[in-house]
């Protein structure tokens, strides 16, 4: 029985590996094996010197960091307060946070576009006009951050909820308070450190989401990394694939760095003995 199980495991692992690794391998081969020239890394060396690579990558990273910061600042206090003060509101928040999953990005961005068009027309004589201009600054489009915060809500809420479920928030807060900690101190010193795993997961998912997001950025006319890759692809097929491979590596490296920053013993739920 056990042996057949292991066999099955290997079969499943093999199939999964084929599914993921074959396209990856094919991409790599496509970028380095130029017909008539043999193996060459030209496609990769050209990336750095191509117009827009560094700026679009930096823009994506800035957007990711800002989105992570905003969404965590918004959701961590909300989730903790929900646990401590208003457990009955949980279903409501859960539904609200899941809505972005239901609304397709294309509908979402269509809504944003119409607001962005309508706003300046009607508000042209008010100071809000400047706000509309400012959030669409191509150097740092705040409107994208706002959109990404909404799109990251379901993932962040779920990650935090799982983390909070694994600890007894109320008892930890009360224990800290009976040790002389004020409520803010109790939250920062006793609850947050035990949510490290959950915070990391939330940051992870948000980072991956922002780095790979295309629809909203493209339709709003901004040029972060994903859009830049797409634009390059139109003119230089080989290089666009090379960039995709590179972006995969970059994303991996960033996720690894994030995991490293979280520390070696990041556990959401330490086993209780």
């Amino acid at each position: 029985m056990a042996r057949r199980l292991t066999l099955w495991r290997w079969v499943v692992l093999g199939l999964a590996a084929l599914y993921f690794l074959v396209p990856l391998g094919a991409s790599v081969v496509f970028t380095v094996d130029v017909p008539g020239h043999g193996i060459t890394f030209d496609a990769y060396s050209k990336i750095l010197s191509t117009e827009g690579f560094v700026s679009s990558l930096l823009l994506s990273l800035e957007l990711a960091v800002t989105t992570i910061a905003v969404v965590l600042l918004l959701m961590v206090p909300a989730a903790v307060a929900l646990r401590l003060g208003a457990p009955r509101l949980r279903p409501v928040v859960e539904v609200v946070c899941s809505l972005p999953l239901v609304v397709p990005p294309i509908a979402f961005v269509a809504g944003i576009v119409s607001v962005l068009k309508w706003g300046p027309e009607h508000l042209s004589r008010t100071p809000l006009f400047q706000t509309f201009v400012a959030i669409q600054d191509p150097d740092f489009p705040v409107v994208l951050v706002l959109a990404y915060v909404v799109m990251a809500l379901p993932f962040v809420y779920r990650a935090l909820d799982a983390g909070l479920r694994a600890i007894d928030v109320r008892t930890l807060v009360e224990a800290a308070r009976s040790c002389g900690a004020s409520l803010p101190q109790a939250l920062v010193r006793a609850v947050l450190p035990n949510l490290r795993g959950a915070l990391l997961n939330a940051a992870f998912l948000t980072l991956a989401l922002v780095l790979g997001e295309f629809t909203v950025a493209q339709l709003l006319g901004f040029c972060p990394f994903a859009v830049w890759i797409y634009n390059i692809g139109g003119s230089q097929a080989q290089m666009s694939v090379a960039v995709s491979v590179l972006s995969l590596l970059v994303t991996w490296a960033l996720l690894l760095a994030l995991a490293g920053a979280g520390g070696g013993r990041s556990r959401t739920a330490p086993p209780r003995g």
Partner: protein, 362 residues
């Protein structure tokens, strides 16, 4: 595991300032349920007082009010005569041990104990040495670097106890600290808690629903029911002279035997005995402890043995009386040898006053 617990001179300092705790007509409602219905109770300095009662009787609410986690609708909580009802929890000067494991999972044992000292901004070296001292006190000096998930339930509760004592609180609050532990650990830990409490001389409130636990460790036991105090007395008095039928039946085992009350004496099992308890004359129930009921084999006896349970030194015999009521009796093992289920027996009571209560219709 044996632990030698010696209170250092540092710890002795606590006993000099042992506090009095007073609950004054505390009242608290949660929606439609009344958790506390005018609770009055005074805990003497250095006393170990157990709050005992069935679940929902308000004992935990009372303790949490002293800790500052609940606030009364009316009434006051006083510590050393000073009204602390509106003092926030973190300034209450009360150490608390919780029912569930409440150690901070991200901190090791010594940092858990030192948590309160860190909140009070005590210097690192000083708080580590004090925390190490407290770990010694609860017999876990060698586990300082362990994380909570690496410790057993009993060890975690010891560390929680050390953490509760770290700030030299004026009162120690124990909220069913043993209920999550297995029987053996529970027994040894409760003895240690008692010894530690006596050495430190700290005023202690101990919430439990286990009457054996309460009777074995506390100086006095306060039995609560439906948000009110039923009786507060020493364990021996509580067991021997329960003030009400509720206390009598909640503390220890009691059998109800029907009797007839007349002029302060009660006719029961063919005997006439002096009666305790304020009940009008007429049909009553006589409350008797199993150790006070005598059972002897008797071919003419109208009672029958229903079941026997071997408890070690004694055998608990359940007999059905002629009128169908069941009574429990504890007999020495050798006397119970011949009494199998179905044996005819005679039942009698010793010639002394018995507690009577109003008849409960069954």
């Amino acid at each position: 595991m044996t632990h030698t617990m010696t209170a250092t001179t540092l710890e002795k300092a606590v006993s000099e300032q042992a506090a009095t705790v007073e609950f004054r007509s505390l009242r608290r409602e949660f929606g439609s349920t009344v958790a506390l219905d005018g609770l009055d109770l005074t805990v003497r300095p250095g006393e170990f007082l157990a709050l005992l009662g069935p679940s929902g009787c308000g004992k935990t609410t009372a303790l949490r009010m002293l800790a500052g986690f609940e606030h009364p609708d009316s009434g006051a909580v006083l510590v050393d005569g000073e009204d602390v009802t509106h003092v926030p929890a973190h300034r209450r000067d009360a150490g608390m041990v919780f029912q569930s494991y409440s150690l901070f999972p991200h901190l090791n044992a010594v940092d858990n104990v030192a948590f309160g000292l860190r909140m009070r901004k005590v210097r690192t070296a000083e708080r580590r040495s004090r925390a190490a001292e407290l770990l010694e006190l609860v017999g876990l000096g060698d586990k300082a670097e362990r994380y909570p998930h690496q410790l057993s339930g009993g060890q975690q509760q010891r560390i929680a106890l050390a953490r509760a004592l770290a700030l030299r609180p004026r009162v120690l609050l124990l909220d069913e600290p043993l209920s999550a532990l297995d029987a053996k650990v529970r027994l040894s830990l409760r003895e240690e808690i008692r010894r530690l409490q006596q050495e430190l001389g700290i005023t202690t409130l101990f919430v439990t629903h286990d009457q054996e636990e309460a009777l074995s460790v506390a100086d006095r036991v306060a039995v609560m029911r439906a948000g009110r105090l039923e009786q507060c007395a020493g364990p021996a008095e509580l067991y021997g002279r329960p003030a009400t039928a509720f206390v009598a039946e909640f503390v220890g085992t009691m059998s109800r035997i029907p009797g007839e009350l007349e002029d302060g004496t009660v006719q029961v099992l063919g005997q006439r005995l002096p009666a305790d308890g304020e009940v009008p004359d007429g049909a009553v129930d006589v409350l008797v402890r199993p150790e006070a009921v005598r059972v002897h084999a008797d071919e003419q006896g109208s009672a029958r043995v229903v079941a026997t349970a071997f408890l070690g030194a004694v055998v608990r015999v359940t007999v059905r009386l002629a009128d169908g009521t069941e009574a429990k009796a504890d007999l020495p093992a050798h006397e119970a040898a011949g009494l199998g289920a179905g044996s005819p027996v005679g039942v009698s009571l010793p010639e002394r006053a018995v507690l009577v209560a109003e008849r409960i219709q069954k």
